[in-house]
Subunit: 245 residues, 2 copies
DNA sequence: GACTTTTAAATGTCAGACAAATAAAATCTG
DNA sequence: CAGATTTTATTTGTCTGACATTTAAAAGTC
């Protein structure tokens, strides 16, 4: 492990960076145990609390995990797809909520990426993915459903579509794009009429995926994107009218 | 800010979670100052080092930034696209290197997503993006170029293509997919012949983008994906043959 | 009024201690 | 000797208290 020139930033940040580089660079391999906190403190010539702060930084990024007790310690963590999903979703959600990203921009990104998955999903989806989509579509038709639950179900349909492509890297990349939209979608109130439209398109989409018909799935997604953006525009317009009255 | 039931996990993790939820939930807004470490310690009934570990966790995710001195403290950080890019790339790179993701899987994901950007980029790219692509293609034809530099330039071309779509959310999502492939690509040795092929396809791609011709750009990307996978397969085969001899 | 000095508040760091968990070693028991 | 039990050592988690450093605002000076 390399040293830290005492020039610029916080010691704990420097130490975290040094260990992170060692992990990324392959000097520390998965499940390898790091030296104990006391040894690290000695090695870097800092106190144990400082080392601990560095380790907590790494733990926050799921780069290491810690275990107490004898032969415990900090271990290089195998970054699972699941962990990566969660981070991706958190980051994407914050990015959208903090940067005044327009609904159109987020929507365009989401559907562009989903359309990239559609042909693969049409080709490879399992019966399980189809069943999930059908079940969610069924849920969407129930009368008492809140707008929020409707949105959540909408996300579930699209997640199943993406997962149907059978490419975990794609699923990971898409997790952010799809899930991060949910807070934005939640601003929309869905009338009975618009729910009907969306359910119809979800059904068409699922039918196309079941039939292995990528091009049709693509056109349905295009229409769904258009419709979603129109709904959002109407909500904005209504809100603006209300504000000026 | 909520409390922490003393049942399950580390206090610092619980506190970090509570503050994180407050930020995501909008209870703490961008640039708002958190209570001082001493106040937080008092509020959560823990010691200052414990609070500090929690804050370092949040800092590692770029959720907060800290400032020393009077009227310093921890502030809710506006998550910039730049910060998000960096995190995205780190996470994606580790995910690929630690999970035995096949070259084909990563490659498929990357090109599927890039193809989603191509039509948008053909429509909206600025002269700047085109110039970047042309300049990188020119660099790729220079004789002394190392394989690594060739790969880096390849990534730059594709980054420009993606950025040309003019959608920062797309650029962010794609950053991981494109950049994380680089370590995998670096395993390939590029013969003069294969460089020539790739340069030719990059040129075709750039021409199509310049002409606003999305469909052609798409077909070029399909061919480039095929070619990349073939190259990788050959490298693997050669390596396997060498190992068995 | 403009400049300098002082002060106070906050994070960054350190040292030493104890608690709690845990696995391995030592001990005891049949 | 085999197996269960106790002890021990190691390591992380947490606390207390202190000092260093940075920084903005208050106080003082000309």
């Amino acid at each position: 492990m390399k040293i830290d020139p005492k020039k610029p930033a916080d010691l704990s940040a420097q130490i975290a960076g040094a260990i992170r580089d060692a992990i990324i660079g392959g000097d520390l391999i998965v499940d390898e145990r790091l030296p104990s906190e006391a040894e690290l403190a000695d090695h870097f010539n800092v106190s144990r609390p400082t080392v601990r702060e560095a380790l907590k930084r790494l733990a926050a990024q799921s780069l290491i995990r810690t275990q107490r007790g004898a032969s415990g310690g900090a271990f290089v963590n195998r970054l699972s797809f699941e962990d990566a999903y969660a981070q991706q979703i958190t980051t994407s959600t914050l990015l959208l909520s903090m940067n005044a990203v327009s609904f159109d921009t987020a929507c365009e990104a989401r559907f562009a990426l989903e359309r990239a998955c559609a042909p693969l999903s049409a080709q490879r989806r399992s019966a399980d993915h189809l069943a999930t989509m059908r079940a969610e579509i069924h849920r969407q038709q129930q009368p008492g459903l809140t707008d929020e639950a409707f949105c959540a179900s909408d996300v579930a349909v699209h997640r199943a579509l993406v997962d149907g492509a059978g490419n975990p890297v794609l699923s990971y990349q898409l997790a952010g794009a799809v899930e991060a939209m949910q807070p934005l979608m939640n601003m929309i109130t869905f009338s009975a009429r618009s729910r009907e439209e969306i359910v119809a398109m979800h059904t068409e989409l699922t039918d196309a995926i079941e039939a292995g018909d990528g091009p049709t799935a693509d056109t349905v997604l295009v229409r769904l994107e258009d419709y979603t953006r129109t709904l959002a525009r109407n909500v904005m317009a209504a809100r603006a009218a209300k504000a000026s009255s």
